[in-house]
Symmetry: C2
């Protein structure tokens, strides 16, 4: 019997709706497998700014550090997007959380449920068999370097930075994962132009010597953006820097049919954070239509990676699979052949997964 303290951090927009469903799934798992999960919640993002003036209050951070895992929603608000001069922004909360918790490895599995073969804009015959595990570095790069203005505000700059140490630790995680899979690793950079990418490639080449059983290729980020769509099945494990990982994993969400299906784990020195890769989606907030499956699959990742509960994790994935097999779809993964009666909202999708879990 596991005894775990889980912090639910809904954040902004649909974050609240989807983490609520994720928590119900955690409850169901606890009941079925006789674990004890206790919960607390904390603020981050726009809702935290509104309540406290800061996007990640100390109290939230303390609670995160004291938890066994964090179930995270999303941050962001159109208000700040439309105002590039805003000094306090929801995303600062997210970045601070990643940095303070040392979450240097963001793991994003891109796997298509067979039933969703037709939900993608990519041809089914191209997608069939695609199964990619992304390792995105999460606490370095242009996200965290010095940034600012000069020349009376007329020039802006951002510094991208990577140390050998930062590259090596994420590379090792990716190589270890490749060993348990199809033993292929693709490292993505822009070493023909960027110095941080050249160091990246150098370090990955060195680390590769310790994993002779893993076949390594190096691709430029532009070529990778093309290859992901052209031939997604050529990839197994992909490891890349923070910014490239941000772009490529959003793109790769199309391989899984919808962004609403993709979960991620952010791990590192302490508490792990589990979250959908989708954003706060204010355009659909409060409408009850958001796809909760990414949050549910984030719970599956949490059970597996932070708690070592593989059986429980697989049970969650199997329940999602069963619901999809039964024909149920949220709007984002429905297509012309979906029966109208099978198109369900956030809560109903959650209830269906719970029913299959029990």
């Amino acid at each position: 019997m596991a005894n775990k303290k889980i912090l639910v951090v809904p954040g902004d927009g649909i974050g609240k709706e989807v983490t609520a469903v994720g928590k119900l799934v955690l409850d169901a798992i606890a009941q079925k497998y006789h674990h004890q999960f206790s919960y607390d919640t904390a603020l981050i993002g726009h809702v935290a700014i509104e309540a406290t003036g800061t996007p990640l209050p100390d109290e939230s951070l303390t609670k995160m550090k004291q938890s066994d895992a964090v179930l995270f929603g999303a941050v962001g608000h159109p208000k700040y997007d439309n105002d590039p001069t805003a000094k306090v922004r929801p995303e600062q909360g997210l970045l601070k959380m990643r940095k303070e918790l040392g979450l240097y490895a963001n793991i994003r599995p891109i796997k298509l449920f067979d039933e969703l073969l037709d939900a993608s804009s990519i041809k089914p015959e191209i997608l069939k068999g695609a199964d990619i595990l992304f390792f995105r570095e999460l606490t370095g790069d242009i996200y965290f370097g010095e940034k600012g203005r000069k020349n009376n505000g007329n020039t802006a700059f951002d510094v991208a930075e990577y140390s050998r140490y930062e590259i090596e630790r994420i590379a090792r995680k990716a190589f270890e994962a490749a060993r348990t899979r199809r033993k292929k690793l693709c490292s993505v950079d822009k070493a023909n132009v960027i110095e941080t990418s050249r160091l990246w490639r150098e370090v990955v080449q060195q680390v590769a010597l310790d994993y002779p059983d893993v076949t390594v290729e190096h691709q430029f980020v532009d070529a990778t953006a093309m290859l992901l769509i052209k031939e997604p099945t050529r990839f197994d494990v992909v490891v890349t820097a923070n910014l490239f990982g941000d772009i490529l994993t959003d793109e790769a969400s199309q391989i899984a049919g919808s962004m609403g299906m993709l979960a991620s784990a952010s791990i590192g020195d302490g508490t792990g954070v589990y979250e959908p890769i989708h954003g706060s989606a204010h355009d659909i907030t409060g409408k009850g239509v958001a796809n909760p499956l990414a949050s549910i699959l984030s719970v599956a990742l949490m059970l597996d990676i932070s708690f070592g509960l593989t059986t429980e994790s697989n049970a969650v994935i199997a329940a999602v699979d069963a619901v999809l097999k039964a024909g149920y779809r949220t709007r984002d993964i429905a297509n012309s052949s979906t029966q109208a009666a099978n198109i369900v909202g956030t809560e109903q999708m959650g209830q269906l997964v719970l029913a299959y879990l029990k």
Copy 2:
């Protein structure tokens, strides 16, 4: 009758093979429409390093400045890709050319020839009608900022930089183009994290005030990477920074069926440079299978943009269209329904286009 000096700069790999075909098309146009095109050639990239020790010899640069237009191939070589510590690299020649010629606007039209609807990995019903014009900023960003190592070589850094002026001039070019099209402009940035992106968004918002007839949207680069595949028809003109443009246009090549179909124009203060967006492709170099259509379509862009020869430009595009309609394909754009006899090599594809031109 136009009298033009055209510099052919093949560069590396398949650059030589495809620009040779492009030049034949220029010849055919000169003959048919009674223009005088004179030619010279110059070295760049790996071949220039081999011959002179530097990736862009002064002689090449001088010739470029004295030409009316440059027909460019590609640069790059696996030798440097595998050696991240190499100090002299082919790509430095390309970047220096862009900077020295002031080529701040890289224009990449993404348009699917109807006959290639099935060549793409994306579903035809998603692609139908897609027609995107990319404006990629080409002389700023992380490509040209300070870069180097510190901490005894254990940390690498790259500085991304943009001034208001640099953003404004590319934004205006993009808005002007939008006016002649469907009057929609999407500006892509990462303003929720990056300071150069915040300045980018600020400036584009200001420039937009001068173009009230153009509908503007701002998208984050990660969301754009997803939307390009999910819903390519939602885009008209897209304007973005150097690095994001590099990644997104390679990705968008899948909308056009193959990278082998995409041409680009780099323009700015002086001589314009016209080139395929594909690279040197050493894996297929010398095999005679490279698709020359991107180089031929680059010629079409040159005729139109640098020489104002619209009829001639349209004739080239029509000839390409006719060859595709007749069923001919290079390997990269063939699919299972292509008859084996219709799969042609580089030279033969060139001859077919020439036949339709005459």
